[in-house]
């Protein structure tokens, strides 16, 4: 009798986990994570690794990013080549490179929501489930709608006191992993960054 009781409880718990509300998730993650993610000015370094099927070495790029609540996200790739991307107003624009990528708008909104942990926004498009370790946590996002699942299979956010890693897994089994490092809250927006937004 006893083992089945345990199974039942486990099943119940799993069901509950799948239906975590935004408020539940927020309560499960460390408060300082949100404090950081929701500050109006934020900057840091990133390392992006993209693993493609059939490719022995992943594609690596790295650079600097700045988030300004009033302007958006400036994504400055420094390696292997220099390119500035601006994610703002639901648009992704590429400085010095002709055509904006397809789905630029959706991607800009999604990435901004991911980096700022806008759970409300994310919950509209994804089922959210959180796993809390001792000091670390991971948030799994699976697309709710077919429009998104055509391009994405799963997104995973991981962190400790703040968000450290965003992994995107697409339908073809390719993974894009973005590590965020040296995150810090800015007092003022540097003039040269402000110029990029305008």
């Amino acid at each position: 009798m006893k083992p089945s009781w345990v199974l039942l409880l486990l099943g119940f718990a799993a069901g509950a986990a799948a239906q975590q509300s935004v408020a539940d998730i927020e309560s499960l993650l460390p408060a300082e994570t949100f404090k950081m993610a929701r500050s109006p000015l934020l900057s840091g370094r990133f390392v992006q690794t993209k693993s493609l099927e059939g490719l022995a070495q992943p594609l690596r790029s790295s650079g600097q990013f700045t988030y300004a609540r009033d302007h958006g996200v400036l994504w400055q790739v420094q390696q292997p080549f220099a390119a500035d991307y601006v994610l703002a107003d639901g648009r992704l624009s590429v400085a010095g490179d002709g055509t904006p990528p397809a789905f630029g708008g959706e991607v800009a909104r999604l990435l901004t929501a991911l980096f700022t942990l806008d759970l409300e926004m994310l919950a509209r498009s994804f089922e959210l489930s959180v796993q809390r370790g001792k000091s670390d946590w991971s948030l799994r996002l699976t697309p709710r709608h077919r429009a998104l699942s055509a391009a994405l299979r799963e997104v995973r956010l991981e962190g400790r006191s703040h968000l450290q890693r965003v992994s995107l897994l697409d339908e073809d089994g390719n993974t894009t992993r973005i590590e965020l490092q040296r995150l810090r809250v800015l007092r003022t927006l540097p003039a040269e960054v402000l110029k990029k937004f305008q």
Binding site: P101, R124, D172
Partner: protein
Amino acid sequence: MSPRWGFKAWLAATALLLAFFAFRVAPNLKVDGDLLALLPASGLDADAERAHRQIGDAFARRLLLLVGGETFAVAHAGAQALSERLRASPAFVDVRLEIEASKPAAVESRARFGLLTPADRTRLLAGGGDALSLQARRALYSPAGFAGLTSVREDPLGLFERYLNDAPLLRDAAIEGGVLVLRRDQHVWVVVLTEIRGNPFDQAVQPELALALDEARAAAALRGARVISSGVAPHAVAASKRARAETVWLGGGDLLACALLLLLVFRSLRPMALGLLSVGLGIVAALCCVHALFGPVHFLTLVFGTSLIGVAMDYALHFLCDQFRDPQHWRPIDAPAHIRSSLLLGLGTAVLGYATFATTSLPVLRQIAVFAACGLIVAAATVWLAFPSLSRPATLHGVARWNALATLLRPRSARAWIWLMLAAFAGGGLMQLQTADDIRLLQSSPPQLLAEEQQVRSLLGTAVDSRYFLLEGDSAQQLLEREEALTARIEALQAARYTAFSQAVPSLKRQAANRQLTAALYQPGGVIARHFSVLGFGPETATRLREDFASAPWLLPEDVRANPRLQHQAAQWLGESNGRWRSTVTLADVQDAEALARAADGLPGVRWRDPVSESSAALASQRREALRLLVVVYGLIAGVLIARYGFSEGLRALAAPLGASLLTLAVLGWSGQTLNLFTVLALLLVLGIGNDYVIFLREGQRESRSSGAPPISSRLAVGLAAMTALLAFGGLAFSATPFLRSLGLTLVLGIALTLTLAVFTAPKDAGPALP
């Protein structure tokens, strides 16, 4: 035929008529509400005409709704409630809220080597292969690199990816929470795309459609969201609702005015009931005739049919007023002898006039003519055959008062300088008269709907145009090639955005050309091999792609018909009919319509279509034809009047309706109103009604000359008839529907002027001076 036999014959005929109406006509009677359906698209063969209708129909069936709220949650909940209600309605075949996955079909993916966007083709023609490779590699490192519909190994340069995203449904909409969303000024709008089961003007669809739309809006409002829409449907519903209400109001008002007047004059229910009987039977008979000859009754026929009540009532009034000839000794059985000539002449000329209109090629005008002629004949026959038996002498009150009214209409004369001034006024007004045959006469929407339409356009950032290109070809491939020749010109002009089926399925020629253009990229050591090796892929990746290129199938029109992603483009493809293939290229955000119209020049099988201006042109040609017929009718009636009254007196008689019509046009000219088809139709009614007045007055005079009694009864009949007509049509002049307003204004002016002129042109009473 003795009165008794006449009445029996009338009873039998009426019973037959009512039975026929009750069992055959009423259950099957359909009202055709599409005001635009009366416009023939000119200069098209039957197949092309069908294609034109098909396109118009498809356009009219689409309805786009935006559900807005302060937050996404409110807008989304509203949109869900709205969609749920619309899906439950049989009036909607498709209600799309959630956006479908837009992955390409397998056959498209395999045929991708022949598919290129115009921009990529231009770049490749300029030898930009390496630039494309660099751009694609950079994109892989960008933060958005993960979001694509195609994989790096199958579409290394992103050519297919760009092709798939080349014709987005809504440019400014973003996908959020699985639905299309527009954000503007702190407001979130969720897009719901729907398709209606039939034409929204179709009376079989409309009641359910109107109900579903109302309830769906209410359901969204309940969740705090507001709804705005863009499409033909709400306009069709509003126009029909208003026009129907106005018709009922107009017909009912006319009938009520007639009934009240009869009640006032005779202080008895019987004359009123008789009046309504003659008009009612006239309308029933007219409906039967139109139903038997044409099938569905057009809405416009009903509008004119209700105006007919005024004319048909004249006969009943004339009979009933005959009592005033000899209030003490009047017997109903004697009346026909006294009004015979008036009735016959009035009816004869009116039917002659309407019969002339029945010769036109325009179905709606023919219907109106048949309706009017049939209704008038039956109303007059009822007066002639049934009134002598059904009528009873009433106790007349206030005879002196009515006599005084009749005396107002005794012949008068005006000084020459007054006629000269009127002529000058008429001449001056006619010189200023402008014509306007705008299709908006037929349909004007409530300002609130127009504002919604404007708001949707500004939110979507795109304006769908009613103008389009109609293309024909001997085969599917020839048709696709013709589309491509046309769209190349549109691209070069940059005059509009367009949607064409060849965007989804290029012609085989174009696919072959595209493959030729890209073949070098896939060669060993070519751009793609280098691209892969820079990224770090093994050589087998390029080899496999080269093999795919070599074995790629061609994409054919039938391959994509069932693909939901290409629904929009597939709707442009009309397919084959009688050995001809047809398609359309539709437009949005038109910048330069003249340049577009010229774009079809010299391209075989391509025609520029502008339904709005074509409709206006059709209205103008109908107006000209109606005006020609009006002149013919005047000629015919002049003949009848001259035969009856002699040359100069006949022309004098005609002068009243003719002069009144000219003066009415002059007033329209001076006041800046315009001449249109409905003004001309109103002038035909003015002639029909005015002619009755002229004839009744003259015949009354003749009759009184032979009987020695003063012609009180005919003058009273005319006075009362004019009062009812003015009361009834006066209301029309305040209609919100432009063509009804035009009709009402012309009728009121025309009838008042005809009556005045009839009095001033009638011959002097002969014999002893009259009271």
